[in-house]
């Protein structure tokens, strides 16, 4: 429940939005629910209870600081505090960046896809908050049979202001039939301060389209980032997601896959490396609604310092989704005795002719292996680093984009090394 003070200030904003408008209604919905607390089943380990009493600037201004010249991306678009900016001269044939309203006008056939989209499977007040307050609902539209050669880069940034702030950003990506693209999203922040970053991204992947989505989350201390990525896949499409959570005070990722056609492939890869005073929470949902599809999920975590990690992986195989193959694996290493990991695989299967498996493990580094390495002259910190890097490499090596793979390796190596050195 929001405090009375916060309740009043948000009510005032709702009035201004118009109580009957979509935004106004969404905000009222949010006000009635408040921020999730540990009493909410899906937020058991990631309580935002304190947020119910923090006064914030609910519409911080844009503050673009990133440079956008990169040779490994075809196109760069930036988001600052929810506002979007891009170099229009670099738009290429085959894709477009436009507002949601404009998109609906230019692509009327999307209307039906949009209207029949599945309702969210979780009660989610932050989604309501985003609907109410996002300043710009952007669409990246990749047209039929278009192949993006290198990658589209999205630099998502939130900037701290004097007071605590709340940033809402909302994107939609639409891949038409046969389109193929790699989308890289680098999430970061500037300045130090308390920022709630609340990001909604909906991705619609039409028949036979292929989409690779690489997300790097590297924020300053003080940032709490809540990420909603909802992916809808049509027949024969393939989506590979890579979520690398490197730094933030708190990261909550809600990644949902809705498999709405046969012969769909969904690959979910994740790596989180929380350190001192960091919490990283991955909630994934793979909803198999149609037959003959497969999903593979590999999540790994290294938890350092007093870090907290959460993994909740839901797989639904609906009655119609016969011949589904769904695999899930979540493995974690507690690199410190003060770290905590909470895992919960959750499979619900209504179809009878399916192959599903899941496994979660959380352990410490193998003492025997450490002694073996030390007996060969490798110091304890170096041995720990070597084992941890070997552990995370499995996920990093799946990234095909060379520059990003190297960048991520460098950042993760340095974070692990620092933590290992501190603990000795």
């Amino acid at each position: 429940m929001l405090t009375a003070e916060l309740n009043n200030s948000l009510q005032e904003i709702a009035q201004n939005l118009g109580l009957e408008s979509v935004q106004g209604k969404a905000l009222q919905e949010f006000i009635s629910k408040g921020f999730p607390t540990s009493k909410w089943e899906e937020w058991k380990y990631t309580s935002l209870k304190d947020f119910n009493g923090i006064a914030r600037n609910w519409s911080p201004k844009a503050n673009f600081t990133l440079s956008s010249s990169l040779d490994w991306a075809d196109f760069v678009v930036q988001t600052s505090n929810g506002y979007v900016s891009w170099d229009k001269s670099r738009i290429q044939e085959g894709f477009a960046l436009l507002s949601f309203e404009e998109f609906l006008q230019k692509c009327p056939q999307f209307e039906s896809t949009w209207s029949k989209k599945n309702p969210l499977l979780e009660q989610n007040s932050l989604f309501d908050l985003n609907v109410a307050l996002n300043p710009q609902h952007m669409v990246l539209w990749i047209k039929k049979d278009t192949e993006v050669t290198k990658a589209i880069l999205h630099q998502y940034q939130v900037a701290a202001s004097e007071n605590a702030s709340a940033v809402q950003a909302r994107w939609l990506i639409y891949l038409e039939e046969g389109a193929k693209a790699t989308f890289i999203e680098q999430q970061s922040s500037t300045g130090s301060g308390d920022i709630l970053s609340n990001f909604v991204q909906e991705i619609f992947v039409e028949k036979g389209a292929q989409f690779t989505y690489l997300k790097e989350q590297d924020f300053q201390t003080g940032v709490s980032h809540v990420d909603h990525t909802f992916i809808y896949q049509a027949e024969g499409s393939q989506v590979d997601t890579f979520t690398f959570s490197l730094n933030a005070s708190l990261i909550r990722n809600n990644l949902h896959f809705y498999i709405e056609g046969p012969q769909v492939v969904s690959n979910l890869n994740g790596l989180y490396v929380p350190g001192e005073n960091q919490l990283m929470d991955s909630h994934t949902v793979v909803d198999h609604r149609m037959p003959h599809s497969e999903s593979n999920e590999l999540y790994k975590g290294v938890l350092m310092g007093n870090a907290t990690g959460v993994f909740n992986g839901k797989i639904f195989v609906r009655q119609d989704a016969q011949k589904t193959n769904a695999f899930q694996s979540c493995r974690n290493v507690l690199a410190s005795t003060r770290a905590t990991m909470n895992t919960k695989p959750q499979l619900e299967i209504w179809a009878d002719d399916v192959k599903c498996s899941h496994g979660t493990t959380t352990g410490q580094l193998n003492e025997e292996a450490l002694f073996y390495m030390r007996s060969r002259g490798i110091s304890l910190p170096a041995a720990r680093t070597l084992l941890l890097l070997a552990f995370v490499q499995e996920v990093i090596n799946k990234v095909e984009h060379t520059e990003m793979r190297e960048l991520l390796t460098e950042k993760i190596v340095s974070k692990i090394q620092q933590s290992v050195d501190l603990s000795n």
């Binding site: 025997e368 007996s375 060969r376 490798i378 110091s379 084992l387 552990f391």
Partner: protein, 250 residues
């Protein structure tokens, strides 16, 4: 080179080594034999610095240093090598990467410059010949899915690369067929020189047909109860350990 005096070691409440005395000089090969549970592997582990064991009395000098004061990695840098009875699987780390880290950490300890990729390549190639090991094995994750023979061969390859002053082979013959045994023993023999020493820990005499010891010691109930030359090993092969046990237990 190595001087062990009145060494006592326990694990938990249980005393396993109860006063070991042993002198090893450069150029020598010593065999430590004994029945199961006599403390052979414990001795090897204590020398390498395994922290599960607590040394309760005695001293170990290695090349003038107090070995017991050193961490396992420092012992390795000083020139001690333990070939494991059960080499540990290191997922995700190839033998070559593992050894590059080991060699350069040891060089750092000794105040030497790190070796570069070209030097490593040359050195690995040279050492591979000692144990007839295949390049493909070295690129795989260390010991992961290796057969018993491949693991032991890899241990000797590591030994060749690290070039220790004192090599301790802990039951290196266990789980090896006769061909693998010969290859491993040949590797050890090629590495032998006037400046280094070898301690062979074994239950059976058969390894000693290939690695011929200068001295044989029999360990029983945590003490060396008999020492002799290689003929002692042959006698043990013929008569078993019972006669020694009854001599000691009387």
């Amino acid at each position: 080179m190595l001087s062990i005096k009145n060494l006592h070691a326990s694990i938990g409440e249980k005393e396993i080594l109860r006063g070991i005395d042993l002198e090893v000089k450069a150029g020598e090969v010593h065999a430590i034999m004994g029945p199961n549970g006599s403390g052979k592997s414990t001795l090897a582990s204590v020398l390498a610095g395994r922290e599960d064991y607590e040394v309760t009395a005695g001293s170990v000098q290695f090349l003038g240093k107090d070995l017991l004061e050193l961490a396992p990695e420092e012992r390795a840098a000083e020139g001690i090598f333990l070939a494991f009875q059960y080499p540990v699987e290191i997922p995700g780390v190839s033998t070559t990467n593992f050894l590059k880290s080991a060699v350069n950490e040891i060089r750092k300890y000794r105040g030497e410059d790190p070796m570069d990729a070209v030097q490593f390549l040359k050195m690995f190639k040279e050492k591979m010949a000692y144990v007839n090991i295949d390049q493909s094995l070295l690129s795989r994750a260390l010991n992961e899915g290796f057969s018993g023979g491949e693991k032991k061969r890899n241990e000797i390859f590591q030994m060749a690369v690290l070039d220790p002053k004192l090599a301790i082979l802990d039951e290196t013959d266990s789980g090896l067929d006769i061909d693998a045994l010969r290859i491993v023993a040949e590797g050890v023999n090629k590495l032998k020189g006037p400046d280094n020493a070898t301690i062979v820990v074994t239950h059976y005499q058969r390894l000693l047909d290939y690695i011929v010891p200068d001295y044989v010691h029999v360990l029983y109930k945590g003490r060396i109860v008999k020492s002799g030359t290689k003929e002692l090993a042959l006698e043990l092969e013929e008569r078993g350990y019972d006669w020694i046990k009854s001599e000691v237990d009387q």
